[in-house]
Amino acid sequence: MSDRTLFQLGAPLLFGALSLTANAGEITWEVVETAEPVEASAPVVKLLLSADKIYTAAGDVIDGGTIAIAGSKIAAVVPGASGDHEGLHVGAITPGMVDLSPRIHLADLSVEESSETIPYLSTTDGIDLFDKRWERLLRTGVTSVMYTPADEACIGGMMAVLKTGGEPSIEDRLVEADVALRGAFGSHASRGNHPVYGRPTDHFSRRPTTRMGTEWVHRKSFYDALAAMKNEERQFEGWEILASVLEGERPYFVQASATQDIRTAIYLKEEVGLPLLVVDAAAEAWKEPGLLVRSGTAAVLPPHAPQGRTAIDNGFLAWNTAKTLVDLGVPVALSSHGQSSVTGQLGAQAGYAMRGGLTRDEAIAAVTITPARLAGVDDRVGSIEVGKDADLILWSGEPFAATSRVVGVVLNGEVVFTSSN
């Protein structure tokens, strides 16, 4: 098999030294010294980005490297080269961040409250892509999110992963639909309900009004689904979605912040058999690390709070929570949980987690490849690898350092934001 040129560079005279070749189907990238003619049909590299450091989140850090982008994808990651072309050169490049709990929703209108179990609803049917917060996320380096509804239902519908920029339509921004089922423990799922005195007055006259009621609804729903899987006559609207969670085809993402709620979620996982459980807003996971390890549960942490108390059920998030869990092998993703203040943003959370003991590589993973894996979209986003979406953050210096800032964001191969020096 002869070598062939995979793509032609946007400006061969300038970038000829970066011609890339593939051999016998196995892609190996090398620097070619001469600017040879290239095939017209090859994809065109439209952007070259180099940095002092490239944190790929795919197992290595490249000291001085260049990323070539063709179309919306990463076409090459080449070590060694830097600063000798007219592309952008920055301090560091990381993958775009993935926020599994962005909370850009329309409050009560984003969640159906007339029933406590609505697995069959698509939460993206309640989305507002014209909200200014999407652009703010993008500018701060968050390029993909899992769309989360307000957690006012026990089982709150199917969630999708979306890009934070592009045309304001699901069609344009969708990475993958129906990636996970939403659930909630804690106080939110029962808030507003009241018992029936005499005649029921509205749909809030119902279970649950307490945490035990919330757990009861979850258990009943999954036991009903188990029954439906065996008996056609027991089927109900949305049973097949619960069945897919029971069979491990998609994860169950539940909000559970306080220790007791995290325990409840994990006991449910072990009781009915939920292969993939991710606890969102898991502030107090540090109190029960053994349970997470035993059950194979992953955690999405809410933003660090100055005094430790988070906004979700007052869950106390210790500074070393991420460190404690990562050291035990628990998959940990950091999240903004909808906070848009400078200290609440996702990038800041990575910095705080480093203060709590995570290495920079671990912190980067916790905002990129780990959340991408938990959402099942790591084939598209979450790391800097050839063939993946070119979603990148350009940093002035070391990522997440207090003295560093985001100087540019690349989304789907396009530079969507640059800050002037």
Binding site: E112, S114, D128, P168
Partner: protein, 377 residues
């Protein structure tokens, strides 16, 4: 008004599709001669004549061509000013004396709104007095499916279409906290299921027997409605979609229409930009009265304000007449000054898209209606 003002001879050749001479006017027939006869937004006949008989327009053309063909006995009314078709409001709830929303449940698509319509309600006379002679009778925004609408006249109780469209609302207050559905996702799911199952009025919409009106407001609501319509393969009039200009090319391609809320003195500049985008993309648009507390005269005054902003005057006049008639499926009856259509006509002191112009007379089904625009009664 008028993109093109035709010469008398050319207009006569074009517009005499039903030659006046061929049909013999009855004893009740009469002719209106006006300095300007606006056939529609695109055509104005100078010194035009409209022959009315039996409630219908018998002929339209330059007076110079038509007058000689008329018998001496026919009554001729001469008007110094403009003669136009009656204004058609894309939607309204006038005459719904016991309320335009039945609050018992969110899905009431099979309610016939005409059953709640009182043709003698005083609000109708006021609308006629503003030159509005027909409107799409529709529900409020209180229910996801508010009922099956009709197309009615503001005078005489004439129903142009007793069952014209299914009125949906995918926005608050149809979504509210004390009943199903409380959320956008819940409403979309329930509406889509009904279209899929083909229940009642929903089934008639799918079968093409009923039109579809979807009330929305915010851009995300428009976006959501467009996605739902795309999935279900349906065309609709988006009611209250004042941000529709942001979606103009997509609306044009999908074949949707827009019923805007009226413009007013305090209207934000983006609304004019949005309308300009609709005009440029060729999206049919009109103005409605169902979502405003202003009187019916706000339709014409709002369009006059838009004309002052430089928006195409022909398109604006069509948005008050021919476009809503087409959107409501009654363009064979009203919306233009053309032979064969109902004689719903308005005499104005000048160009109706000028703020200084006043209404001088209204005819519905060929009968003059007592009407004084804007004055206290």
């Amino acid at each position: 008004m008028g993109i093109s003002t035709l010469t008398s001879a050319l207009a006569g050749a074009l517009l005499l599709a039903a030659p006046a001479a061929a049909e013999t006017p009855s004893a009740e027939a009469f002719a209106l001669i006006a300095d300007h006869v606006a056939v529609d937004g695109g055509t104005v006949i100078e010194n035009g004549l409209v022959l009315v008989d039996g409630g219908k327009i018998l002929a339209v053309g330059p007076a110079a061509d038509l007058q000689g063909t008329l018998a001496d006995t026919i009554r001729v009314i001469e008007h110094e000013g403009w003669l136009t078709a009656g204004i058609v409001a894309a939607n309204g709830t006038y005459g719904m004396v016991s309320g335009a929303d039945d609050s018992t449940r969110a899905f009431l698509g099979d309610l016939e709104l005409r059953d709640g319509f009182d043709p003698d309600d005083s609000s109708l006379a006021k609308a006629t007095g503003a030159g509005v002679t027909s409107f799409g009778l529709t529900s409020g925004r209180g229910n996801v499916a508010g009922g099956t609408g009709a197309v009615v006249k503001t005078s005489g109780g004439t129903m142009l279409n007793e069952s014209s469209h299914l009125a949906l609302c995918l926005a608050p207050p149809a979504l509210r906290g004390n009943r199903f559905p409380t959320s956008y996702a819940g409403a979309v799911h329930a509406v889509e299921a009904r279209f899929t199952e083909g229940q009642g009025a929903f089934g008639k919409v799918v079968a093409g027997e009923l039109g579809l009106e979807v009330a929305v407001s915010a851009r995300h609501e428009i976006r959501r409605a467009l996605d739902l319509l795309k999935r279900t393969g349906l065309k609709a009039t988006l009611r209250g979609a004042d941000r529709a200009g942001d979606f103009a090319p997509e609306l044009a391609e999908a074949g949707h229409a827009v019923a805007l809320s009226p413009l007013g003195m305090g209207t934000s500049p983006w609304r004019y930009e949005s309308i300009t985008a609709l005009v440029e993309a060729g999206v049919p648009f009109a103005f409605g009265l169902a979502d405003t507390g202003s009187g019916a005269d706000c339709l014409r005054f709002g369009a006059a304000l838009a004309a002052r902003e430089g928006i195409d005057r022909g398109a604006l006049w069509n948005s008050l007449t021919a476009s809503p008639a087409a959107m409501l499926g009654v363009s064979g009856r009203v919306g233009r000054v053309a032979a064969g259509l109902d004689a719903d006509l308005v005499l104005w002191s000048g160009d109706p898209l000028e703020l200084t112009t006043t209404l001088e007379a209204v005819y519905v089904d060929g009968a003059q209606v007592e009407a004084t625009e804007g004055d206290a009664k």
